[in-house]
């Protein structure tokens, strides 16, 4: 009885973390894309990665950041022509975000990318993040599970020696 209660308690603890992860499986999209970036890092992989980050200031910042994360999932597709992806993909992502998710930024541009940022919060802390960036020829969806500081995340961009974005160019 006692053991079952402990398991129940542990399952309840695990539930909020798993609930923040959204399904980023888009059948057929990968085949149509000219370039693709797929990153799937669960908590175990993040812990492993943190051991391989160096001690310089920038990578230390990354290490601190990922210590509080349970997962990072990125899907980025680039297409040869406009309108090659079905916009309903974006709706499918949105539909997975429950009432505990808030859209905090919505950037609409006729010439550049449209970006939507959704966060899930607990108290004052952000415990989940979804970024949808849609352009006529590019679609990027990012899902970060865990406590994340948006300002620190924005500061990371271009700050350190990030490996050159190695988008997978597909042979046609």
């Amino acid at each position: 009885m006692k053991r079952s209660l402990v398991w129940l308690f542990m399952a309840a603890l695990a539930l909020p973390a798993s609930a923040q992860q959204i399904n980023l499986d888009f059948p057929g999209l990968s085949e149509r894309a000219a370039e693709e970036v797929t990153v799937t890092l669960d908590a175990r992989m993040l812990r492993l990665a943190s051991k391989f980050l160096s001690d310089d200031r920038d990578e230390r910042t990354v290490r601190d950041m990922i210590q509080k994360l349970e997962g990072i999932y990125v899907r980025s597709y680039e297409f040869d022509r406009e309108g090659e992806y079905d916009r309903s993909v974006v709706d499918r992502v949105r539909s997975q975000l429950g009432t505990n998710w808030n859209k905090i930024v919505n950037v609409r541009s006729r010439t550049r990318e449209n970006v939507e940022i959704y966060t899930q919060t607990r108290g004052d802390a952000i415990t989940g993040l979804v970024v949808i960036s849609a352009e006529p020829r590019e679609l990027t969806i990012v899902n970060i599970v865990g406590s994340i500081d948006l300002d620190r995340l924005a500061d990371l961009e271009g700050q350190f020696g990030i490996p050159k974005i190695s988008k997978e160019r597909k042979e046609r």
């Binding site: 970036v37 990153v39 890092l41 992989m45 993040l46 492993l48 990665a49 943190s50 051991k51 391989f52 980050l53 990354v62 950041m65 990922i66 990072i72 990125v74 980025s76 930024v105 950037v107 541009s109 990318e113 970006v115 940022i117 993040l129 970024v131 960036s133 990027t140 990012v142 970060i144 948006l150 995340l153 924005a154 500061d155 990371l156 961009e157 271009g158 350190f160 990030i162 490996p163 974005i165 190695s166």
Partner: protein, 98 residues
């Protein structure tokens, strides 16, 4: 006897005496090196086991290092993409504010 005759006599094929082959085999078998002592055998086994274990450990470590480096690169790439999108959105929002 001339030289040619002497050579012919000397080089004439001659059958070995009876039991020659079996005597040779018997002697070869008796002269074979004695089996290693149990202690020597155990040492050899231990050395082989250590070598196998070391190879396996090195392989596992290499795989771990490769996986770790890959995970690190993926983290940096993912945060770079996420950061660039968030930064772009922030810039746009700030742009409207000013």
């Amino acid at each position: 006897m001339d030289l040619e005759e002497q050579l012919r006599t000397a080089l004439r094929p001659k059958n070995p005496p009876a039991g020659f082959a079996s005597r040779v085999i018997k002697r070869t078998l008796t002269r074979r090196a004695a089996p290693p002592s149990p202690a020597k055998r155990e040492r050899a086994l231990r050395a082989a086991a250590a070598a196998i274990m070391l190879t396996a450990l090195l392989g596992a470590w290499t795989a771990y290092e490769i996986a770790g480096e890959r995970a690190r690169d993926k983290v940096l790439l993912a945060l770079h993409i996420a950061g660039s999108k968030v930064r772009y959105a922030q810039t746009q929002v700030h742009g409207i504010g000013h």
